[in-house]
């Protein structure tokens, strides 16, 4: 049962994730089709697009939780589901937040995969957990009960758990949802630091205005890829209109073009992306 993560031995030019012509069929229409991209080691990629565009489906397929209908996914050259070095933070965590555990307990759970069945976690595991806590800046809350955490602290704890797991790829499905602006920036700063330390980061995100500053590349989706590249090149009015359709309203002001979109919930509008003229 003991499985080790051999990610450290990967040659640096090997892409962390490679997706070729991915297709995932829904009940009537494909949720995703024709998706191809690669994620380099140490790269931060934002996945953007309206609700129902297939962002969550893409991330779950990468995490090995759903099977693609066709196409190919390679994680460090192997099929997904074989790797422990892939940390996944779902959109709505199904974790039981009233569970009696401290932050340290939860981060230690990241070690369970490396350890075997029936084995106890040892000192080395505890050390990995403490390191992970300090990397996300939560060492001072290690003994806090998890139900007392704020939304941002909770996300950072789950990122620490992925680090304790020795994940080399982080998949985060809308980690900013429900957070206030300072907490959002804290998470994004943390993710950027981690990617500079060599982790590959793939994040689905609705806050288009934050994509430019924090990500190397962006993938704009609407069930199929609309654009892929540097954020400034991807988030153009034409591309956004192609992705968001009627949900997008472009307003030309003296300071530039303002894109308003119904990104989240029907009836709730939020600012998507201010752009220079």
């Amino acid at each position: 049962m003991r499985r080790s993560c051999l990610c450290d031995s990967h040659p640096p030019e090997l892409p962390a994730v490679e997706v070729r012509d991915l297709r995932v069929d829904g009940d009537d229409a494909p949720i995703l089709s024709g998706v191809s991209f690669s994620l380099a080691q140490g790269e931060a990629l934002a996945v953007v697009g309206p609700n129902g565009a297939g962002k969550t489906t893409l991330i779950m397929a990468l995490a090995g939780l759903i099977k693609p209908s066709s196409g190919e996914i390679r994680v460090f050259g192997e099929p997904p589901g074989k790797h422990l070095c892939l940390g996944y933070l779902p959109q709505r965590s199904e974790a039981e937040w009233n569970f009696p555990a401290t932050v340290r307990d939860v981060v230690l759970m990241g070690r369970v995969g490396q350890s075997g069945l029936f084995r106890r976690l040892g000192r080395a595991d505890c050390q990995k957990a403490e390191e992970a806590l300090s990397r996300v800046g939560l060492s001072h809350l290690a003994d806090r009960r998890i139900r007392e955490l704020s939304g941002g602290e909770r996300q950072r704890m789950l990122i620490a758990r992925a680090l304790a797991q020795e994940a080399k790829i982080l998949l985060l499905d809308e980690p900013l949802a429900g957070l206030d602006a300072p907490a959002q920036e804290e998470i994004l700063n943390l993710l950027r630091d981690l990617s500079h330390q060599g982790l590959s980061v793939l994040v689905s995100i609705h806050e288009l205005d934050l994509v430019v500053n924090y990500f190397d590349r962006a993938l704009l989706l609407r069930n199929r890829p609309i654009a892929l590249g540097k954020p400034q090149e991807v988030l153009t009015p034409e591309n956004l209109r192609a992705a968001y359709g009627k949900a997008l309203h472009l307003i030309h002001t003296s300071e530039g073009t303002l894109a308003l979109g119904e990104a989240c919930c029907p009836g709730e509008r939020r600012e998507l992306s201010p752009r220079a003229p």
């Binding site: 939780l65 974790a95 569970f99 555990a101 369970v112």
Partner: protein, 271 residues
């Protein structure tokens, strides 16, 4: 001192005491995972669903209580796996599936028992337990099952904790989450049947749920919760039996009333 020692002169009391303590410990340990996973209803359902097994065992092996016990265990295992499979495959919500199976099985049990002459007295035994009639053979069975359940829960502690806390994360770690789910069902089925022997169908849920609920209120972390659940469960079993001896009340009821009392007393101290 003689107050404590006097009942121990009687073999039936000693056996009842050991059986109650073993079942209490198993219930407290497994019950902690049950309440954290929100499986309380399943525990109750299993306790009721064993009734047809008990009835068939009773009819086939008249008077042989150990045989009835095995029939109960077999029915509990079969029911828990049926519920587990329905919950996974069906479109029906799991609690509705449990409700259907549970009520149907209970009705079948009553139908079977009522077809046997003199059922009323025996039905009372099944519903409320007959702790004071634990035979030496019963005792070994209860001890073996309880210790086995506790040992398995301790051996797979971190996996059970992880699957209970965050099942999706457990899947991404490639843990055998489906097997763990069935394992927990198996543990619950065995535990419920041992509790059945002590407090009967109607009250076995209390042994499974009340001490862990008390532990949950008082503890900060899972190990503390399970430890406290064991303390309160075992204390309830111990004191409950003496109360039953001296006050002449049904032992199952005494045990459950004490556990409930501890729960109420702990409410102001919750953290």
């Amino acid at each position: 001192m003689s107050f404590l020692l006097e009942p121990l002169k009687y073999g039936f009391f000693v056996r009842a005491l050991i059986a109650a303590l073993a079942a209490s410990a198993a219930c407290a340990t497994v019950g902690s995972f049950v309440i954290l996973r929100g499986m309380t209803f399943l525990g109750d359902a299993l306790a009721h669903a064993v009734l047809p097994g008990v009835a068939v065992g009773y009819v086939l092996h008249r008077g042989n209580r150990s045989a009835v016990f095995y029939w109960a265990l077999g029915t509990a295992l079969a029911t828990s796996f049926a519920i587990g499979t329905i919950g996974k495959k069906g479109r029906l919500k799991e609690d509705a599936a449990i409700g259907v199976v549970f009520a149907g099985m209970f009705a079948l049990g009553i139908a079977l028992i009522s077809s046997v002459r003199g059922y009323a007295v025996d039905l009372v035994h099944f519903l409320f337990g007959n702790l004071l009639a634990v035979s030496p053979a019963d005792l070994w069975l209860i001890l073996g099952l309880s210790l086995g359940v506790i040992a398995l829960a301790l051996a797979l502690w971190k996996e059970l904790a992880l699957v209970t806390f965050d099942p999706v994360f457990a899947r991404t770690l490639r843990l055998p989450t489906e097997a763990m789910r069935y394992l927990l069902l198996l543990l619950v089925a065995i535990t419920v049947v041992t509790a059945l022997r002590v407090v009967g169908v109607a009250l076995s849920l209390a042994m499974l749920v009340t001490p862990p609920a008390t532990g949950y209120l008082l503890a900060k972390r899972l190990p503390g919760m399970v430890a406290l659940a064991n303390v309160f469960g075992i204390l309830s079993g111990f004191v409950g039996l003496y109360l039953s001896y001296y006050l002449g009340i049904a032992p199952g009821a005494a045990v459950v009333l004490l556990a409930t009392g501890f729960f109420l007393l702990s409410l102001p101290f919750r953290r």
